[in-house]
């Protein structure tokens, strides 16, 4: 009898709980999403700019041809946006995109294939005097055609394993062709897209406001009435904004300490989403300076690093965590941990690794106590803790390293001039994709952002080969070869630790998924706030 009463009580609780759960999952309309942005857009033109300071407040006003699936935690899955479907020709050189019908710009005019063509031509073949930051990413594109109102064709010079991924760029806003024809610079100072929100105001240095687009093509969306991006540079003030419940989220990321403080202060009112972050600091070695022209010395430097112990310690205090190769761990092209552990500097036996490092240094004629300068960037997080860790690790193989910290804005001047020995370099991608993530390592004659100043035709050939390989498994194999050459055999660059993205946000916020890129998932069409 008692048991049946308990059973009844449980059934009653369960019956109450079920509607609660389903109610919680039902998107709620209304409300204004407030979020701090640690940087501000220099202009409104996504084709020209490079910063998340543009993406976070401006992306909600636009759509792109394709987007990353907003629910994909890896942030790699292509998803329809203005194009509802696409196909590739058998030779892999022609991509055809069928566009959605009835999509309206905020001025009421219809978006057609001419707009897509004009937008991509601005990105890939910009007119003289028009800045395009991603022109170099589309060198394989031969031409763009708009055979009818709702179809766009991209013709490539050769097959590509990454062309679709390159179209997922959140920067590639679709602009109106008529406006671009009149003034290709118009979008630098004005906002007018097809996105879920329309522009209200931007008070420079303060905030930017958007309101719901009632004519948005994706019926039923967006859920929010609007959003307000507040420009807050100081990280403590950003945390205070979330803690004081004046903001619901900051889309870039907080430190582990900030996360713990917010969780301790707000408890269940805070939900934390975390992900490996598609940003990494790497040690570059100037190959024009002795002894860094010697692969044995470079290998010794990577062998000195205990990445696994470093990960445990540094992830407590800095925004780094995963031990990684040239791809973000867990993503489709990433090397599995067991295979990664075979590369120099990734061995689990650190004593063996450091003994090998000492042997290599001796063989290369580098004396005990050899001194060199490590140039680091004057940005505290995570440059400072990683710099300390590196120097400490190198001391353990008998090297004497002096750290030279250069102010952030002036940082690239010595790197570009080659006035360095060892230095901290970095890269951040908008999507995890081998072409994007490995371009950094190409010979300096191909990539001016290679501040190691080396030429490696073998590496370049491997890059081209993987880029044109459309079979995923075959491409993975080439990427492994590339990774082994760049990180182990030649040790051109030394990976530190993958950044780790921590997003503590209000538990009222739903419909947003963290991805490895802080450039993704900012259209805000799927986001909603519970009452």
């Amino acid at each position: 009898m008692i048991e049946s009463r308990w059973l009844l009580a449980l059934v009653a609780i369960a019956s109450l709980a079920v509607p609660c759960v389903s109610q919680a999952q039902q998107p709620h309309y209304g409300g204004e999403l407030v979020f701090p942005v640690p940087s501000e857009p220099p202009s409104y033109d996504g084709h020209r700019e490079e910063t998340f300071g543009l993406i976070h407040p401006i992306a909600p006003f636009y759509n792109t041809l394709l987007r990353v699936d907003p629910n994909d935690k890896l942030g790699t899955k292509p998803y329809p946006s203005l194009a509802e479907s696409w196909s590739v020709s058998p030779d892999g050189k022609t991509y055809v995109f069928k566009l959605r019908k009835g999509v309206k710009f905020h001025d009421g005019s219809e978006m057609t294939s001419e707009d897509v063509k004009a937008s991509y031509e601005k990105i890939i073949f910009p007119a003289p005097g028009v800045g395009s930051s991603r022109k170099g990413q589309y060198v394989d594109v031969e031409s763009i055609r708009a055979p009818d109102k709702y179809e766009v064709q991209f013709k490539l010079k050769h097959a590509s394993g990454s062309f679709i991924a390159s179209l997922l760029s959140p920067y590639n806003f679709i602009y109106k062709a008529e406006i671009l024809a009149k003034d290709p610079h118009w979008y630098e100072k004005n906002i007018m897209g097809t996105g879920p929100f329309t522009f209200v105001e931007h008070v420079k240095g303060s905030h930017l406001v958007g309101k719901k687009n009632p004519n948005y093509w994706d019926k039923g969306k967006p859920y929010l009435d609007g959003f307000r991006a507040i420009f807050i540079r100081d990280s403590a003030a950003q945390v205070a904004a979330v803690r004081g419940e004046r903001a619901q989220i900051q889309f870039r990321g907080f430190t582990p300490k900030d996360r713990d403080n917010l969780k301790a202060a707000l408890g269940d009112k805070i939900t934390v989403q975390e992900s490996p972050w598609d940003c990494i600091l790497m040690v570059g070695l100037n190959h024009k300076v002795k002894p860094f022209d010697d692969a044995r010395v470079r290998r010794a430097l990577t062998l000195a690093l205990d990445r696994y112990e470093g990960s445990k310690a540094l992830s407590q205090i800095a925004i780094v965590k995963e031990v990684a190769g040239v791809q973000v761990p867990g993503t489709p092209f990433a090397t599995p941990p067991a295979e990664l552990a075979k590369l120099a500097g990734y061995w689990h036996d650190i004593e063996k690794s450091r003994a090998e490092a000492r042997r290599l240094l001796k063989e290369a004629g580098v004396p005990e106590g050899f001194a060199f300068t490590f140039t680091n960037r004057g940005t505290p997080m995570p440059y400072e803790p990683l710099g300390v860790w590196l120097i400490d690790s190198w001391r353990k193989i008998g090297l004497n390293v002096t750290q030279k910290v250069v102010e952030s804005a002036a940082y690239f001047t010595p790197l570009r001039k080659g006035d360095t020995q060892a230095f901290m370099d970095f890269q951040c991608g908008y999507i995890v994709e081998p072409d994007l993530d490995t371009y950094k390592f190409l010979s300096s004659s191909r990539n001016p952002a290679n501040y190691g100043f080396y030429e490696d035709p073998v590496l370049d050939a491997l890059y081209d080969k993987q880029s044109q390989e459309t079979n995923v498994e075959a491409r993975k194999k080439i990427i492994r070869q590339f990774e082994k050459r760049v990180l182990d055999e030649q040790a051109h660059y030394l990976m530190t630790l993958q950044w780790h993205r921590i997003i503590p946000h209000s538990s009222r916020l739903h419909g947003w998924t963290v991805t490895p890129s802080h450039y993704l998932n900012n259209t805000l069409d799927t986001v909603w706030l519970s009452p």
């Binding site: 240095g205 004046r246 804005a409 690239f412 001016p448």
Partner: protein, 318 residues
């Protein structure tokens, strides 16, 4: 007096010109430029030298230094400060947006400081070596030893922990919503005003002590003048002149120098604009801001000198 004013105004021109030359050259000496800050600092992999050269040409950074300086001077002569190299927006507009906030904050902090510093300084001097004097001295030494931004951080933390509240993050002009405006600016004004008041109070106390020992004060007392009258009409008028200099100089400093406090309270003021301008290597913006601050200092000093003559009729300018 008229000739003196004209002379002072004319003397400002070479001073400002000197400041202009200095800031122009200093900015070109420090490494990096706006194009590097824009295209390399984000870790982009696909930047071409062609794009960077194109951008440098757009801002005239490919021109010789003398040409860049001449162009800037030509613009200044027409009161055209140019456009921001970072945002492409007119400099005057960039500054105008932040000026209202910085001016209001400077005025509020100055008011708090003056209202506290003068009476506290007088009180401490009059009650020298009593518990009142000691209390004022402790209060002011604490003010001098406490950086405004640290006090500001403590205020925010205390408000968060105790009241679970933080000041508004966005500036609302006083004439739009006074309550919202004061909710945001009262705290930084208090934090800055406290340190500022400490400087003023100590100056007021020491000058008042000095004046109170003067012969004419003793004479006034001997004549049987009312103590309050001696203090306000005879002592204060003479003692306040150095305090006036301190308060006015601090006011000019507050207009452009509240960098960290503005960051802590997320205030969109001139201090933050300065920092952003420097980190973006926005030459035109920094040049205009430095000239603005230099002009403010010159103007404030000039007004203080005029005020001296008004407060103390014995002072004459030729």
């Amino acid at each position: 007096m008229g000739a003196y004013i004209a002379k002072r105004l004319l003397a400002m021109i070479p001073t400002l010109l000197g400041v202009a030359v200095l800031i122009f050259l200093l900015l070109r000496v420090i490494p990096g430029d706006v194009v590097e800050a824009r295209y390399l600092a984000q870790g982009s992999q696909f930047q071409s030298q062609e794009l960077m050269d194109q951008e440098r040409a757009k801002f005239g950074l490919d021109q010789p230094l003398w040409k860049q300086f001449a162009d800037w001077m030509g613009g200044l002569a027409r009161l055209d400060f140019g456009v921001s190299m970072w945002t492409d927006g007119p400099i005057t507009q960039e500054i105008k947006l932040r000026f209202a906030l910085s001016l209001q904050l400077a005025l509020m902090a100055s008011t708090i400081a003056s209202c506290l510093a003068i009476p506290l300084g007088i009180l401490a001097a009059v009650k020298q070596d009593t518990w009142v004097d000691y209390a004022v001295r402790v209060f002011t030494i604490a003010g001098l030893a406490t950086p405004s931004f640290w006090l500001g951080s403590l205020m925010i933390l205390a408000m968060l922990v105790v009241f679970k509240w933080v000041p508004p993050m966005v500036f609302t002009p006083l004439w739009v919503d006074p309550w919202q405006n004061l909710q945001q600016l009262a705290w930084p004004a208090l934090a800055v005003g406290y340190r500022y008041c400490a400087v003023g109070t100590r100056m007021m106390r020491s000058t008042m002590l000095e004046v109170l020992r003067e012969d004419y004060i003793r004479t006034a007392r001997a004549k049987g003048l009312w103590a309050k009258l001696i203090l306000t009409r005879h002592a204060l008028k003479n003692a306040i002149l150095p305090v006036l200099t301190v308060i006015s100089t601090e006011f000019a400093f507050l207009l452009g120098g509240l960098v960290v406090t503005e960051q802590v309270f997320n205030l969109n003021g001139l201090g933050m604009l300065f920092v952003e301008g420097i980190s973006h290597r926005d030459y035109t913006l920094i040049q205009a801001l430095v000239l603005l601050v230099a002009t403010t200092f010159l103007a404030v000093n000039f007004l203080v000198d005029i005020a001296y003559a008004w407060i103390d009729p014995r002072i004459h300018y030729r």
